[in-house]
């Protein structure tokens, strides 16, 4: 099980992956908006999106878990 974490503080602009979706390493899970820039948050491993911990519009701090990949 791997956690996909926010690389910096910002708000969740878009959730790219859906719960239950198969994703590969490097595939974007979410896109954050920080300081008026879109920051893609990729998965570091291949697997299934077990849980999305955030919703679009949520504010996250650096290190907050965005999704769990199994």
């Amino acid at each position: 099980m791997n956690e996909v974490k926010a690389s910096m503080a910002g708000s969740v602009w878009k959730l790219v992956a859906k719960q239950g979706e198969e994703v590969s390493e490097g595939q974007d899970i979410a896109i954050l908006e920080s300081m008026k820039m879109e920051i893609p948050i990729p998965s570091e491993s291949s697997g299934t999106v077990k849980e999305l911990k955030v919703e679009e519009g949520d504010f996250v701090n650096e290190g907050d878990v965005i999704a769990i990949i199994e």
Binding site: S7, M8, A9, G10, S11, S34, M35, K36, M37, I39
Partner: protein, 451 residues
């Protein structure tokens, strides 16, 4: 003249406007979000009002709230700064409807220049050179492809309501265009509420040169020469200078005259900037008009000795311009660098706590700063935290002073682009005036592999 104005902005530009107001004995009202409670501009103003939560939609873009503060505080006018509501026609209109003066042009002009398609049409009417492109929005990727094949690649896709590089992409073939069209249209819809796209020929390796204008409500207008802002990352300016290191006197005069034609056609008043792309043969093409004060306005102030904020206030108060074109001449050279809270290698934002800030001193050095030594840089706003401006009798002296100053500059606690700026301004090609829009791509990014 106004006795009290509200500054509907934040950061360095709010401080900048407040300082000129102090010089003119005008009282100032600042507005701030919860994230900006300790920002320097808040205490610099005579009065400050908390207007909401950190996100801009809940504070700095809340028109009703800002107007309520303006009325309650007894302000007679609103200066919108740049960004945020500065080019929002609805805000300008509602400000006037509330019986206050909007320090900027008429809402109709803001609206027209905010729509790139309408702006192109208006400039065409004024006889200002425009880049060959579609006069109407293109309905689909297929329609865009037909145009590109008729006029030839490369082309530039642009969001009609775009800004800050969002919704804009250079494309080189049908396949790229197919992908880029939908993505950029969706992005424009999300950011600007308008997904309309248009397409134009890509001017390869151009310079970005813009003309500063000032116009009053009586129909008088002058141009305050050009700024060259070609050095950009992610389509956003990093280094700006006045005058351009390459523009001939003849082209400068022609661009100035074109800009005045634009101003007259629009019935424009207040400060404004006409942005152009300029190719190697000094052909120039209208890019867009910014109907507000610009980030890089200090370099124009340095070479002309004119306080643009003071002029904005006077014009908005109904005074006639006392400056004529014959009064204006370029004196010396000025260069501005934008200091961003970002990783200098990836250009990714770097919000966080500043633990140390050392601002250099020296002859010809000017600062416009949004932060203090203990500021928290939040992720809610633009990453620009300061501007460093160097003035010299000529370009060489300006570069020399800027180089010395930037090596003394210290920011700790967050990442900043200081190392990038140092490499740019000390680069031989920068010194030689080879400052095209591809500078970062050609001369800076390749150096990163060695570090």
């Amino acid at each position: 003249m106004f006795e009290k104005i509200l500054v509907a902005n934040r950061g360095e530009i709010a401080s900048r406007v407040i300082r000129t107001c102090k010089d003119m004995n005008i009282k100032t009202v600042a507005v701030y979000s919860e994230a900006d409670q300790n920002a320097p501009y808040v205490s610099l103003a005579d009065e400050s009002y908390l207007i909401g939560k950190p996100r801009v939609n809940e504070s700095y873009l809340n028109i009703e709230k800002i107007l309520k503060v303006a009325k309650e505080s007894g302000a007679q006018a609103i200066h919108p700064g740049y960004g945020l509501l500065s080019e929002n026609a609805e805000f300008a209109k509602k400000t006037e409807e509330a019986g206050l003066t909007f320090i900027g042009p008429d809402a109709k002009v803001i609206s027209m220049m905010g729509d790139k398609i309408a702006a192109r049409a208006e400039m065409k009417k004024a006889g200002v050179p425009i880049i060959p492109g579609t006069d109407e929005a293109v309905a689909s990727a297929d329609e865009a492809k037909d145009w590109a094949n008729q006029f030839g690649y490369p082309v530039m896709l642009k969001a009609a309501a775009g800004g800050g590089g969002i919704g804009m992409q250079a494309v080189y073939n049908d396949e790229e265009l197919e992908k880029a069209f939908e993505g950029n249209s969706k992005r424009a819809q999300t950011f600007f509420g308008d997904g309309k796209m248009f397409i134009e020929k890509l001017i390869v390796d151009p310079r970005h040169i813009e003309i500063q204008v000032l116009a009053d409500k009586q129909g008088n207008a002058v141009y305050l020469f050009e700024r060259e802002c070609s050095i950009q990352r992610r389509h956003q300016k990093v280094v700006e200078e006045a005058p351009s290191p390459v523009l001939s006197e003849k082209t400068r005069a022609k661009m100035g005259e074109s800009s005045l034609k634009a101003v007259q056609t629009l019935g424009y008043s207040n400060a404004g900037t006409i942005e152009f792309m300029v190719d190697d043969e000094e052909n120039y093409y209208f890019l867009e008009m910014n109907t507000r004060l610009q980030v890089e306005h200090p370099v124009t102030e340095e070479i002309t000795g004119i306080d643009l904020v003071e002029q904005q206030l006077k014009v908005a108060a109904g005074e006639s311009l006392v400056i004529t074109q014959d009064d204006l001449e370029i004196q010396g050279h000025a260069i501005e660098v934008r200091i961003y809270a970002e990783d200098p290698n990836t250009f990714y934002p770097s919000p966080g706590q500043i633990t140390k800030l050392v601002l250099p001193e020296g002859e010809g050095i000017r600062h416009e700063v949004a932060v203090k030594g203990d500021s928290q840089v939040t992720p809610f706003y633009d990453p620009m935290i300061a501007k460093l401006i160097a003035y010299g009798a000529n370009r060489e002296e300006a570069i020399e002073r800027l180089t010395k100053a930037i090596h003394e500059y210290e920011i700790e606690g967050i990442k900043s682009n200081l190392t990038m700026l140092k490499r740019v301004i000390t680069h031989d090609n920068f010194k030689a005036g080879d400052t095209k829009t591809t500078f970062i791509q050609n001369y800076y990014l390749p150096t990163l592999t060695n570090h």
